[in-house]
Symmetry: C2
Subunit: 456 residues, 2 copies
């Protein structure tokens, strides 16, 4: 039993009760409006019932009770959802009542764990539930949704099944070992391993994308002091907030430097201004900035168009580009344009194609910059509708499976015995099984489900 | 359409859609798991359906959809509740989807207003919904629950009906005025008015109780500096918090100086220490303390048992009691006892019966003090199961009705004409009708429902 809605005051609060005693416990305090008692076990699944929560003559609340009969519930167990008035006091009283009648508080993630335990979700799907709830942009949401609906698990299962087939053929050989037959064609196995490795390779590579989708694409805004970095960041954040706050009640706990543009999350990295300095502290700050540039996927180089000539800009860009890693993209942005000078400015910097002129203060042309962010993301990505790995645990398991497959391949080249092949194949199967939870350990499960919120 | 669950991240978020187009709008994006479309209007009332929210090929979420057919819903209109994953992003996307398909955001309190407009709740019941959600103690909750379930409204309706009967008899007289008949027995009317006034009087008086139930019983802890006032307050609050926090996820936004003991809310009033002082600022502080004592129902006089003799205590109490209003109760508490000296201390102060000895620092005997709070509340109250008025608007209307009734009574004594009597009776009916909403004004409704949260 646990509160399933967010903590706080609202119109409705929902307490979810799951398990074999869910119906009998709730039948003890739930009554029809006329005071008659109800046997919840006799109600139809997926129906809603208005009634009273009563203890003795005291009516605690008028509630709606929803009945879910196993296995057609979130946990695949008998489940009751009590939809009460959204006051903390009532929710608390109702939970205390449930405890008095024999329920206990669910642990964090316990409902999802039970869904996994009862085989309604596999492990990767269960993990996606947490990602889904945490997702703050359209792409991270779509990737989590696809994973929850089983897209990723399906891929892994096919890989595993093919390997299992081979493993059983080899086991068969071992049974007939004295007769020296070969049921499992070694060439077919080689081909299979190559094709599995190709898929694993693609999945592992997708993690870089998956990671930026989940955590946001790191963007560094760099430039000299007074180039207008903070003003630009504010301009970008402000527009984002204006969009978010159109729907009241959905204001999120703003992480000051994240924005979602066209459903893609960008994460801004704080950098110190770059300038020649003899001050040691400032030098440290600047060298940190260069480190951060290294880790950014997009670098916005911002300069004041009134401060630099075309030549000066080239010098500065050359210095910045020394620190940029090969996968990153640099966007050059000229700030502080005013309309009168635009033609002149454009001529001055004509040599730099793709330069964007803005006025951060006047919120002028910020949209072009936003569009450029999105274009860069699109150009560097594989198709998001393909399976994307977003979970470091999965990458680890995939990499381990890849190593095991490599060992099999080497073994095949050296013509090693069926026994040894069998061990290596089992090892690969183990790592693939860890992803979907066909193989688990207590530590692993504890680690995964303890990260859930209570009530999920 | 509005989010009905608290804003935030949880397992479940619910969006409620109500109105004649609720079914057709939601049918546009809700699909069965296999992708088939569904006509929600054809589903049975009070049933729950698992399915997908889809726009084109993009699956936004897997949700549970609950169907409520008019008039059997909260608003008495066709209603759909969409139970989605509890992420702000998903909730926001879902609401934007609803807006695209023709829904609009509900105003604060609009669902409850519709329940009132569609005569599922009267006005006093609707107001009780807000009180119910805001209630933080067992008594305030019970009073709100009783009012929501119609207890108070029922009382008012009986009063009104009796008066309406008389009003119609008098109207009848006016129709036959040329014949000089008396259908309405003036003595019966006098008796009725006396009995109604008695009920109104009791209800108006119950407001003092209702008010303390709703807002907490004001308690002042007074005493000299260093008597241990803050330590005592902390000791009281701490125990309360320990109780509250037994159930995770229900920690409330602590109003630092409110505690609920045995379901009764006590509100602690901050006071400056009392001591003779020539400092002007301090004198002002002390005189404010005496003002606050005036307004408190319970005064805890706290003193350090090592600082005062029995005689000194008497002098101090005499001074404090000068400022205590006649309805208040004083609890004398000796602080800083240590076990060795208890017998000696008890002898010293034997003249003061009902004194409580505690050690706030050691959390010793705090329970006795808590129990005394509850006992004092019980002894001064009428039975809480009787109807209690908690709403200042209702008291105002009751008082106005009372004045109108008095005018009728005076009129009867002076033998005034049926026409004038009729006007006075209508006036009394008007004020009683304002309570349950049989008489309303736009301003009144706006004022009441704008205080609700969105989604209710």
């Amino acid at each position: 039993m646990a509160l399933a809605t967010p903590d706080g005051v609202g119109a409705i609060g929902i307490i979810r009760v799951s398990g074999e005693n869910a119906f009998s416990i709730c039948s003890k305090f739930f009554y029809k409006k006329n005071g008659e008692s109800i046997d919840i076990a006799k109600l139809k699944t997926h129906t809603i019932h208005f009634g009273l929560v009563k203890e003795g003559d005291v009516v605690l609340d008028e509630i709606l009770l929803s009945v879910f009969l196993a296995p057609n519930s979130y946990t695949a167990e008998n489940t009751v959802e009590l939809s009460c008035h959204g006051s903390r006091f009532i929710q608390q009283q109702l939970m205390q009542l449930l405890i008095r009648y024999g329920a206990r508080l669910a642990e964090a993630g316990e409902f999802t764990f039970r869904a996994f335990f009862n085989k309604r979700l596999d492990l990767a799907q269960a993990e996606a539930v947490a990602d889904l709830i945490a997702s703050t942009s359209a792409t991270s949401h779509q990737v989590a949704m696809q994973q929850m609906r089983g897209g990723f698990s399906g891929k892994i299962k096919i890989l595993r099944e093919n390997l299992v087939n081979f493993a059983s053929l080899i086991e068969l050989e071992l049974d007939f070992s004295e007769e020296d037959v070969e049921f499992a064609d070694r060439n077919d196995l080689k081909q299979l391993i190559l094709s599995i490795q190709k898929v694993i390779h693609r999945l592992v590579n997708s993690f870089e994308l998956g990671n930026v989708i989940k955590n946001g694409i790191p963007v560094a805004i760099v430039g000299k002091p007074n180039a207008g970095k903070s003003t630009l960041l504010n301009a970008l954040l402000e527009e984002d907030r204006a969009i978010v706050s159109e729907i009241p009640g959905t204001t999120r706990d703003t992480i000051e430097d994240e924005i979602s543009i066209d459903g893609i999350l960008f994460r801004f990295i704080d950098t110190a201004g770059i300038r020649p300095s003899s001050d040691l502290i400032e030098q440290i700050g600047i060298s940190r900035t260069f480190e951060k540039i290294q880790k950014s996927s997009i670098i916005v180089y911002l300069f004041d168009v009134h401060e630099l000539t075309s030549k000066g800009l080239q010098t500065e860009l050359d210095e910045v580009k020394e620190h940029v890693n090969e996968h990153s993209q640099v966007i050059v942005v000229g700030n502080k344009i005013d309309k009168e000078d635009l033609a002149y400015t454009e001529r001055e910097f004509a040599a730099f194609k793709d330069i964007i002129f803005i006025s951060a203060k006047e919120r002028h042309n910020i949209d072009s910059l936003r569009k450029r962010f999105v274009d860069l993301f699109d150009s560097r990505t594989v198709n998001v509708t393909e399976t994307v790995v977003t979970n470091a645990r999965h990458v680890q398991a995939l990499q381990n499976a890849g190593s095991a497959l490599e060992k099999i391949y080497d073994g095949l080249a050296k013509n090693i015995s069926g026994e040894l092949l069998s061990i290596d194949i089992k090892n690969a199967l183990h790592h693939l099984g860890l992803i979907t939870g066909e193989v688990t350990t207590d530590d692993l499960l504890k680690n995964i489900f303890s990260k859930f919120c209570i009530g999920k």
